[in-house]
């Protein structure tokens, strides 16, 4: 017992040293772990942007050499002949117009309701269901439009394609409208009401007008999104190798034409698909940038 007293004191001292040393070691280790993990998040950032850079690289390298004048002026031609996607570009424009004509009024109206009747039970239910609608796979919306507008009349139509796209557009526009209207200061509404404006005019010509740039942005983002959709068009708009401007007839669309060419076995058509993809992506990006521009420059003062 007594013999152990001396070693114990020694052990005690070395224990304290040990503790200090081990704390030092753990701290060093913890710092290294921290550095490594933070380094991994940097790596994640690099890896996450890599696919985008690869996709853009191939699009520009292969696509740019295939985009030429006849791409924008001719309709699809058999392999071996110089063809283009002019009708598909116009077709996408027509489909987007039909979808916007249906989707914008409904989306903006519903967005106004959600922003003004905030907190009511119906508003919460509608907001939730709008999110659900937004989460539906686009091909399901295609089935819906097919069942309602194609099957009964037994032929494909641009109108059916437009309706399927409108169903995609509505939740996007609703959400954007609601958020933008909520950003309008209450004082503006109050000022208009105090000047004797009725509620509805306050909502439409003061609040909606102030929120307009934001809503335009939201609408453009929605347009950019639906312009690139293929799945809902496969059995509604169906595609068309020739010019068509009628809502009652099958119509070509840029994404569908890209799909058709991409899964074909011909190199020539692959080149056309790359060109189409480059044009489509440029279109989508230009619309998105236009959305930002619309918010910033023209209505820049209105938002504040």
């Amino acid at each position: 017992m007594t013999a152990s007293a001396v070693p114990r004191r020694a052990a005690h001292r070395s224990y304290r040293e040990e503790l200090a040393a081990s704390t030092q070691r753990t701290l060093a280790r913890r710092r290294i772990v921290s550095r490594v993990m933070i380094g991994l998040t940097y790596l994640a950032a690099v890896l996450a942007t890599l696919p985008l850079i690869l996709i853009l690289y191939y699009l520009i390298r292969v696509g740019a050499s295939s985009v030429n004048w006849s791409f924008f002026t001719k309709i699809p031609a058999p392999v071996g002949e110089q063809g283009g996607m002019a009708n598909a570009i116009v077709g996408t424009g027509i489909l987007v117009l039909i979808a916007s004509a249906i989707g914008l009024p409904v989306g903006i109206g519903a967005g106004l309701y959600l922003a003004e009747q905030r907190g009511t039970k119906l508003a919460n239910v509608v907001r939730f269901l709008s999110d659900v609608l937004n989460g539906l796979p686009s091909i399901v919306l295609g089935i819906f439009a097919w069942q309602v507008l194609v099957r009964p009349v037994k032929h494909f139509s641009a109108l059916a394609g437009g309706v399927a796209l409108a169903a995609m557009m509505i939740p996007l526009v609703t959400r954007a409208t609601e958020e933008m209207i909520r950003l309008v200061p209450v004082s503006m509404r109050e000022a208009a009401l105090a000047l004797g404006y009725p509620k509805w005019r306050t909502s439409l010509s003061v609040v909606l007008r102030t929120a307009l740039p934001g809503i335009v942005t939201g609408a453009l983002v929605a347009v950019a999104r639906i312009a690139g959709e293929t799945a809902p068009l496969l059995f509604t708009a169906f595609g068309n190798s020739f010019w068509s401007f009628s809502p009652a007839q099958p119509i070509a669309a840029l994404p569908m034409q890209i799909y058709t060419y991409a899964i074909s076995p011909y190199d020539e058509w692959h080149a056309q698909a790359w060109a189409g993809a480059l044009v489509l992506l440029t279109l989508v990006l230009v619309i998105s940038l236009a959305a930002r521009f619309a918010t910033r420059s023209r209505f820049g003062l209105g938002g504040d």
């Binding site: 998040t41 996450a48 996709i55 269901l129 993809a277």
Partner: protein, 332 residues
């Protein structure tokens, strides 16, 4: 009627105060009513549309569901000639490709979100956030094109031989069989790229909702910067991040074009990741044009109905989780 009577009154006795103020209030309240009805009507269109969509999709798939019953979802025959259909391979493919996508995308998406919200130097933050968001803007068919012409050959010639020969995984069931190119693995990879921006966006949003005090407390207790993230921020944001992952799952389940183009389109359940497969959405997209008899079409629509139900359930869960984190963060 009140308008007419007040107008008559105004003409009869011009000396009395002009009725304009009164009629304006009258008119405005009518305007308010009309306005209220109109916006309510537009808002109600959303539930109506959703119900209508669900009803019509089920109506389209009903003949097949009635004919094959619940076994439609558990059998794997797909014989258009003898009119025998089972969706099991497609359901299996949907699940497997989505799991591959989430396994690949989640660490990257959460990593990039942490990088952007906690560690990134200011000048890097915006460009990287922009690039990641840009991934969500690329149309599905462009991913498919790139996938089929660039990624699939790359996987076939470099990645799969690496797994088979260098890592000697060729004998394991996951990498057995010949590599044709289009495969479940390819579908998972392309889906991973596509869902990454969604998971990352939600995660960033959720991380921003974590109170500053949570971070400061951890640092004050002597935590390293990573320990602060790992022990104080991530637990707080956990359910929101899971919500984001489930939201990504919802996107992956319903993704059609890109998957159709790279998955190989074969009705077979195989354990091998390098074998071709099918997903629910890609069956519909791929076979609709070649479906000649009504049972075949209806079977495709029935798969669509299944997809609709799954998408609604998955999205509802995701929204609920994200909403919960937002509430917890706002409450403190």
């Amino acid at each position: 009627m009140t308008d007419v009577s007040s107008a008559i009154a105004a003409r009869a006795t011009p000396a009395t105060p002009p009725p304009s103020a009164a009629s304006r209030i009258e008119g405005s309240s009518r305007g308010d009513r009309v306005y209220r009805w109109a916006t309510t009507g537009f808002a109600l269109l959303i539930p109506i549309l959703l119900t209508f969509i669900a009803w019509e999709v089920f109506a389209a798939g009903w003949p097949a569901l009635k004919r094959f019953g619940f076994s439609f979802f558990f059998t794997s025959d797909w014989d258009a000639v003898n009119e025998h259909f089972g969706a099991a391979p497609a359901i299996f493919g949907t699940i497997v490709s989505s799991i591959i996508a989430l396994v690949l995308a989640t660490p990257l998406a959460v990593g990039v979100a942490i990088f952007l919200s906690e560690f990134a130097p200011t000048w890097v933050r915006q460009p990287v956030a922009f690039l990641v968001d840009l991934l969500a803007a690329i149309p599905s068919v462009v991913y498919g094109l790139w996938g089929i012409l660039v990624m699939v050959p790359m996987l076939r010639d470099h990645v799969i031989p690496f797994f088979k020969n260098t890592l000697h995984l060729g004998d394991t069931p996951l990498f057995s069989g010949p590599a044709y190119g289009p495969s479940m693995l390819a579908a998972g990879c392309i889906l991973a790229i596509m869902v990454l921006p969604y998971i990352s966006a939600v995660t960033r949003e959720v991380l921003a909702a974590v109170p500053r005090s949570q971070r400061e407390a951890a640092l004050a207790l002597g935590a390293t910067r990573w320990e602060m993230i790992w022990d104080a921020v991530l637990p707080f944001a956990r359910s929101g991040i899971i919500g984001g992952i489930i939201l990504g799952l919802g996107r992956a389940l319903g993704e059609t074009m890109a998957v159709t183009m790279v998955i190989g389109n074969r009705h077979e359940i195989s354990a091998s990741l390098i074998a071709p497969g099918y997903t629910m959405a890609s069956v519909i997209a791929n076979e609709f044009s070649e479906a000649t008899n009504d049972v075949h079409v209806s079977a495709l629509m029935a798969i669509g109905a299944g997809l609709l139900v799954v998408a609604i359930v998955v999205n509802a869960i995701a929204r609920w989780l994200v909403w919960q984190t937002g509430r917890a963060g706002g409450g403190q």
